[in-house]
């Protein structure tokens, strides 16, 4: 059982890599395709509802979509005081996409990999080498892709709000202020270092928080799946129910922090 279990866990934690020998220039086909599919689900439903949106007598789906949009809109308006056409759609996309990616965790942990193995076997592959990880947000590539995009947005917002010179000046003169020229020159590299740490800490904390939560959640589902089948529900049901909260909360936290970071970027200190 022990080596079997290790094998099982290892198998579950291996990505479907397009070409493991290619180093950086290889793809996680599972992460990419599942998240792309979920992106289509989100964009499709929301665009359909937006296209058919009725002012009077909206249907249930429209009301649900409106509720989500209204929630995001309220948060953005409360936190972000600048004018931007990007931030609200960005926040909505983040929330919905991450939520859908996280929600893949609630599918039975063996369901999609088992289907993939059978399909792979039918296509003549060795089922032991057919890998599929269905939770894209448990892949650092997915979470960092988003958080680094957010970091680029932070830089972009800073520059557009303060100008390249204004932002550069802020990088060199805050958080430590000085009055004399000499002190200013001395403090400039220290300030710059602090600012760089602050700037880099944001995407790292964003993506690692999401990744850690989802990875651990997935791992616990895998461990529960190792129990005898008759007892799995005792732990599996509470964990899944709790996980509904976790996946929503993580999506919300990512969105809120993005809004907060962007509003900090446009406000002058």
């Amino acid at each position: 059982m022990a080596s079997n279990a290790t094998e099982y866990i290892k198998h579950h934690l291996t990505f479907w890599n397009s070409d493991p020998s290619a180093g950086f220039w290889s793809f996680h086909v599972d992460t990419f395709s599942v998240s792309l599919l979920l992106g289509f689900v989100f964009a499709g439903i929301f665009a359909l509802v937006a296209r058919r949106a009725r002012l009077e007598n909206p249907g249930r789906l429209q009301l649900f979509v409106e509720m989500v949009v209204d929630m995001v809109d309220t948060q953005v308006k409360e936190i972000f005081h600048g004018k931007s056409k990007v931030i609200a759609p960005l926040a909505l996309t983040i929330f919905c996409w991450i939520f859908l990616m996280n929600a893949m965790d609630l599918l039975p942990v063996d369901l999609l990999p088992w289907i993939a193995q059978n399909v792979g076997a039918a296509l003549g592959h060795d089922p032991h080498h057919v890998y599929l990880r269905v939770v894209p947000s448990a892949d650092v590539n997915a979470t960092f892709a988003m958080s680094l995009s957010v970091m680029i947005c932070i830089i972009g917002f800073s520059i557009s709000a303060k100008g390249l010179g204004g932002w550069g000046k802020e990088l060199l003169t805050t958080p430590f202020h000085a009055h004399g020229t000499v002190m200013k020159v001395i403090l400039a590299p220290i300030n710059f270092a602090f600012q760089m740490i602050e700037l880099l800490a944001k995407p790292i904390s964003l993506s690692l928080r999401l990744f850690g939560n989802m990875y651990s959640g997935e791992l616990i589902f895998i461990l529960i799946a190792l129990l005898p089948w008759g007892f799995q529900w005792i732990l599996g049901a509470p964990w899944a129910i709790f996980h509904i909260l976790v996946i929503t909360l993580q999506a919300f936290v990512f969105m809120m922090l993005t809004i907060v970071y962007l509003s900090l970027a446009v406000e002058s200190h």
Partner: protein, 156 residues
């Protein structure tokens, strides 16, 4: 943790999703929701206005009703007054007419009496004259004493 080109792929997907949301999802939905909020606000304002209008109309109706009642009362009072006046006038006219008729009748009666008296007196005078003539025929010349006879006739 292994980083590879998935990162770039995911970032591109993310960028496209954000662009798509920005272009096709967010504006129509928020515009529609804003418009709905506006329409609801307008509807509430219109309802409020309608309520006020109704109250004003009710007040006006009550006012009109009161005025109409008052006018009706006035008209009735005036009519009654006029009726009693007409009755009074008719009574007065009747009374005057009756008095006049009475007076006429009395006048006529008086005249008749007077005329009868006159006739009587004339007859008496004539009888007296005739009597006197008969008595005095022999002694009195009618022509001579005509003035005397006339004066007697006038006195009678």
């Amino acid at each position: 943790m292994e980083f590879n080109a998935t990162l770039l792929g995911q970032a591109i997907t993310f960028a496209i999703l954000v662009w798509f949301t920005m272009k096709f999802v967010w504006p129509p939905l928020t515009n529609m929701m804003d418009e709905r909020a506006k329409r609801i606000a307008d509807g509430l304002a219109a309802a409020e206005r309608g309520k006020q209008d109704l109250e004003a109309a009710e007040k006006r109706v009550a006012d009109e009703l009161r005025t109409a009642k008052q006018q009706a009362t006035e008209i009735m009072l005036a009519a009654e007054k006029r009726a009693s006046q007409i009755v009074e006038e008719a009574k007065e006219a009747a009374r005057t007419e009756g008095a006049k008729l009475l007076a006429d009748a009395k006048g006529q009666i008086d005249q008749e009496v007077l005329r009868a008296k006159e006739a009587l007196r004339e007859q008496v005078a004539e009888l007296a004259v005739v009597g006197a003539e008969k008595i005095l025929r022999r002694e009195i010349d009618a022509a001579k004493h005509a003035d005397l006879l006339a004066s007697i006739k006038a006195e009678l």
